[in-house]
């Protein structure tokens, strides 16, 4: 998917994370801030990159502020931000396809 507009998903509440995504031209630029950076930073990064790859996002600036979210929440927020950036988050989503 091609990132078309700036988009945000998620909150700064405990167990959640906020994902901001912006269109850029030269690959993936990822910035992560987390309340559990030392323990889980690597895992969070892996989950974010894996989700972007599954959605075939190759160019994007992604800024994450994590408040101790589970993997399933990280996926949900990244996916939501990507689909919002394309204006396609409201209907006919590929549940069980690209989203899994």
């Amino acid at each position: 998917m091609k990132i078309e507009n700036n988009a945000v998903a998620g909150t700064l509440e405990s167990s959640d994370l906020q994902v901001a995504i912006e269109p850029i031209e030269n690959g993936i630029e990822l910035d992560i801030t987390s309340s559990v950076m030392n323990q889980y930073g690597r895992q969070i990064k892996a989950t974010v990159l894996e989700t972007l790859e599954r959605l075939e996002v190759t160019n994007a600036k992604v800024t994450i502020v994590d408040k101790g979210a589970l993997d399933c929440t990280i996926k949900a927020r990244v996916e939501c931000a990507v689909f919002r950036s394309c204006g396609k988050s409201d209907k006919n989503l590929p549940w069980g396809g690209a989203l899994k």
Binding site: D16, L70, C72, A76, K91, N92, L93, W95
Partner: protein
């Protein structure tokens, strides 16, 4: 992915607790409370501009979190909104046990949802007929049409009244005696029993008024409700305690059922147990008491 067993249309549903599907902190450990059913909410708890985000969150929760024996129902947005069709797709794709239809007013509303559910089951390769339905009656029209709603589909397992919206329509407010909703609750109960589905009462929203809450739950049980909608984990235990049968009721039910089975084997229809006449009409109720007792850990026999 967590495979969930095929949903049971009739199971114990004393407590059905609402949870905002948009809040990861809530839904990640909803199963630890020992509630019979959780109702993940896509409707009123989710702000209008977060409906999309709530679906992503719901989908991954359904696919990832092991809810064990807790039933997982999703409350979808009303049929007068642009959200309900995608809500149904995500519920079915995620494998929710059932869908709660908000603001249901007619059998046609149930059929409209059923059609979309069946389409989604085919789209996502889910067994057709797996996803159960329940309806929330929130308006005078919904209450007047309660029977046709209850009987509209073999997927229907129950109906619930939604006090907030109903009182708004009726221009009343909650009363200690429950008189404001007495007729509506009664009519819905009669309709549910006539159609052979379960019936659930509305939420009690004043968390500080423990006495009021307990009184309402006791009245629910006396009126014949199967369970109650809840908004907070601290409401679960009192509901389970009040809905549990007494030891005396369990002992009596056990005596009746075993005496009935013996009498039946001998070709006897009516008989007495401890001086009380018992016939076949008493048995379904006694069996239900034993099933409830088993679920509450009060009965370990093998009659049910």
């Amino acid at each position: 992915m967590i495979p969930r067993p095929r949903p049971e249309r009739f199971r114990l549903r004393r407590s059905m607790m609402f949870m905002n599907a948009q809040k990861p902190g809530l839904i990640k450990d909803a199963y630890i409370y020992g509630v019979d059913s959780i109702m993940l909410d896509l409707e009123d708890a989710v702000a209008e501009n977060q409906k999309d985000a709530a679906r992503f969150s719901l989908y991954h929760a359904l696919k990832t979190i092991d809810y064990g024996d807790t039933e997982v129902i999703v409350r979808i947005n009303g049929l007068d909104t642009p959200h309900w069709q995608e809500d149904i797709r995500v519920c079915v794709a995620g494998g929710a046990d059932g869908i709660r239809i908000a603001k249901c007013e007619s059998a046609q509303d149930v059929l409209t949802v059923e059609k979309a559910v069946e389409e989604a089951e085919k789209e996502f390769g889910v067994e057709v007929g797996r996803t159960l339905l329940m309806a929330a009656l929130e308006s005078p029209k919904g209450i007047l049409n309660a029977y046709e709603i209850c009987a509209a589909s073999p997927r229907m397992f129950g109906v619930a009244i939604s006090g907030g919206d109903f009182r708004k329509c009726m221009q009343t407010k909650p009363t200690v005696s429950g008189v404001d909703m007495l007729v509506a609750r009664g009519q819905m109960l009669i309709a549910a029993r006539a159609a052979g589905v379960q019936c659930f009462d509305t939420v009690f929203t004043d968390l500080d008024d423990t006495e009021g809450f307990l009184a309402e739950v006791r009245q629910n049980k006396e009126m014949g409700f199967d369970g109650k909608s809840l908004i907070n984990p601290k409401q679960i235990r009192p509901v389970h305690e009040i809905f549990a049968p007494t030891e005396k009721e369990v002992a009596q039910a056990e005596a009746w059922v075993s005496a009935f089975r013996e009498a039946q084997a001998k070709g006897i229809g009516v008989f007495t147990v401890n001086g009380k006449m018992v016939d076949v009409a008493f048995i379904p109720g006694a069996e239900r008491t034993l099933k409830l007792a088993k679920a509450c850990g009060m009965y370990e026999g093998d009659l049910v």
